[in-house]
Symmetry: C2
Subunit: 311 residues, 2 copies
C-alpha cells in the first residue's frame, strides 16, 4: 500500500450497522463530517431518530443524505433487506462502503453459561456482521460496485482469556471471514478490512460489566480503553490507509503484529518491531494472567459451590 | 513445559469424536496401542462397528475397553448425552481426555453460497466440537477430573484465502474457544490443546474436493498433505508434550509461530526462528496467492455469468 492514494469518503454512500450508538454512531458522525452520505441501521427506533439528528447536525453540506433504518440483522434475509432499503434511497445502487459495527458481548464463566449463552454469543458477535458482509459482497459484485467491506472484531479476535468463551470465538470467526473475503473479493475489486478495537467506553461496555466475571475484570484492570470517538478515528485511519488488519491502541497492535496469519502487514518495519516487542512482552503478560487465574482457584471453587454448581 | 513429565494415555479413558474414520480413527488406534481405554463417537453405525473392530485389533491387552457410540453432536444436549453414554461405561466417571475430531468442510465461492452453506459451515466446523468441549469442561469440573480437552482446528484456523468463507470462520472460532478455555480451565486443572492439521488425505478430503473451487485448488496445488496416521501422530506428540497450539507440518508451524495471540509458545527458540522465517516467507506466499486470484478475474466473471449469477 506504499504511496497508494488514500480512500476518501467524500460523496460516497456509506452504510453503517450498529450506527445508532457507540462506535457505529461515532463513525457515522466522522464520515458525514468528511462529506459522505450516510445510512445507519439499528433496531431501536428512538435511538435511531436521535442518532440521525446528531449525524445530520454534523453535515458539511445540506445536500448530504442521511438515512436511518430499523432492522434486525440476525439473519441473511433481514441483513439483505436492510442493505436493500439503504440502496433503494440511492436508486437501488449498493453502498460504496459497508461498515459492520453491530454487536454485543456477554462475558461469563463457562460453568455458568447455558447453551443459549453460547449460541447468542455467536449471533451477537459474528452473524450480526457476517450476514451484512455476505449480502454486501454479493450485491456489490452483482452491480459491479468496487467498494469496501469493513468488519469490527475485537482485541479478543486475536487472543483470549477467562470469561470470553461465547465472545472470543465469534470475534475470531470474523477474522477468519475477513481474511477469506480479502482474498476472494480481489476478484471483484472489493476491499475488505477488519478492525480490532480494545475496550471502548460505550453503552455496550456498561452492559458487559453487568455479567463480567471477577477474574476477567481483574485481568483487564490495567486496560484503559478508548472512547468511541478515538476508536472510530483509528478505524477510519486504517481504512483510509488500506490496512487489512486495523488496530487503534498499542496493546492490540502488539497482538495484531504477532497474530498476522496471512494478512498483509500494515508496515513491514513497524510490524516487525511490534512483533519483536510482542515476542517478549506477550508471554510476560500471559504468565501474569495465568498466575491470577491460578491464584484465584480456591475462591472460585467456593463461589461455584455457593452457586450450586456441584450440587 | 521444559523438563515436565510427558502425558501418558496408559490406563486412561480417552474419548474421541469423529472416531470412526480419518484423523479420529487414526488417533483412536494410536491411543489404544499406547494402552488407553477408548470410546469413539460418530453417527454412522456401520462405520462405527467397522472402526471398533480395527481399534480392538490394535489393543495391547484384552483388558482394554473399547466402546463405540452412535450420536449426532450438533447440539449441546446431544453432545452431553454422548459424553454421558461413554462415562456410564466407566461407572459415570468423565473421560480423562476428550479429543474432539469430528468435523467437515465444504469449500465454495462466496457468490455460490446459500445462507444454509454458511450456517452449516459453522455447525460442521465449530459447534460439532464446541458442544463436546462445553459438556466435557462442565462434567470434568463437576467430578474433579483433572483431564485434557483437545480440539481440532485446521491450518485454516490460523489464516485463510479464497474458497473457505464457511469453514475458516468456524476453525478460527475454535481457536478462540481453545485460547479462552486454556486460560479459564486452569481453575480446575484441565489442560486444553488445539491441533491445526493441514490437508489430510482422508474420506473428508474426497468430499471437499467435490465442491472445491478452481482457485482454491490452484492455491493449494503445492500442499502435499499428511496421511491421517501422520496427522494423528503429530497431534498426539503435541498433546504429550503439553503444547497449547499443535502443528504437524512445516507450513502450519510457520503460521502457528506467527499467529500466536496469547497462547504459550511451544519452544521459545524454535518458535522465534519460525516466526522470522514466516516474517519473510508468508508475505511472499500471500503475494503469489493474491496474484493467482487477480490473474483469474476475467475467467471467473465468465464462470459466474455462465452460472447465471448476474441474471
Amino acid at each position: 500500500m506504499l504511496f497508494s492514494k488514500k480512500w476518501d469518503p467524500k460523496d460516497k454512500h456509506v452504510y453503517v450497522t450498529g450506527g445508532s450508538q457507540g462506535l457505529g454512531l461515532a463513525l457515522a458522525i466522522l464520515l458525514v463530517k468528511r462529506e459522505a452520505h450516510v445510512s445507519i441501521v439499528a433496531r431501536n427506533q428512538e435511538r435511531l431518530d436521535n442518532a440521525k439528528k446528531q449525524i445530520e447536525a454534523a453535515r458539511v453540506s445540506p445536500s448530504q443524505q442521511v438515512h436511518a433504518f430499523s432492522f434486525s440483522l440476525n439473519s441473511a434475509s433481514e441483513s439483505a433487506a436492510a442493505l436493500k432499503a439503504a440502496s433503494d434511497a440511492f436508486g437501488g445502487r449498493a453502498p460504496d462502503a459497508v461498515f459492520a459495527c453491530a454487536g454485543a458481548a456477554k462475558p461469563m464463566y463457562v460453568m455458568e453459561m447455558s447453551e443459549e449463552d453460547m449460541t447468542k454469543g455467536m449471533m451477537d458477535g459474528y452473524w450480526v456482521q457476517a450476514w451484512t458482509a455476505f449480502a454486501a459482497a454479493k450485491e456489490m459484485t452483482r452491480q459491479g460496485v468496487k467498494g469496501k467491506i469493513v468488519l469490527v472484531s475485537s482485541t479478543l479476535g486475536l487472543m483470549s482469556f477467562v470469561g470470553w468463551a461465547s465472545y472470543a470465538p465469534a470475534k475470531h470467526a470474523l477474522r477468519g471471514l475477513a481474511d477469506t473475503l480479502r482474498s476472494e473479493l480481489l476478484l471483484y475489486g472489493i476491499d475488505v478490512h477488519i478492525f480490532f478495537p480494545p475496550t471502548m467506553n460505550t453503552a455496550s461496555y456498561e452492559e458487559e460489566m453487568k455479567t463480567k466475571p471477577f477474574l476477567t475484570r481483574k485481568i483487564e484492570e490495567t486496560d484503559g480503553g478508548l472512547s468511541s470517538d478515538q476508536a472510530a478515528l483509528g478505524m477510519f485511519k486504517g481504512v483510509e490507509s488500506g490496512h487489512a488488519h486495523i488496530a487503534a491502541d498499542l496493546i492490540t497492535h502488539l497482538f495484531r503484529a504477532s497474530t498476522r496469519g496471512s494478512a498483509p502487514m500494515n508496515n513491514v518495519f513497524v510490524d516487525t518491531i511490534l512483533d519483536f516487542i510482542a515476542l517478549i512482552g506477550v508471554p510476560i503478560w500471559r504468565r501474569g494472567a495465568d498466575r491470577m487465574v491460578l491464584g484465584h482457584r480456591k475462591e472460585h471453587v467456593e463461589y461455584l459451590e455457593k452457586k450450586g454448581f456441584f450440587a
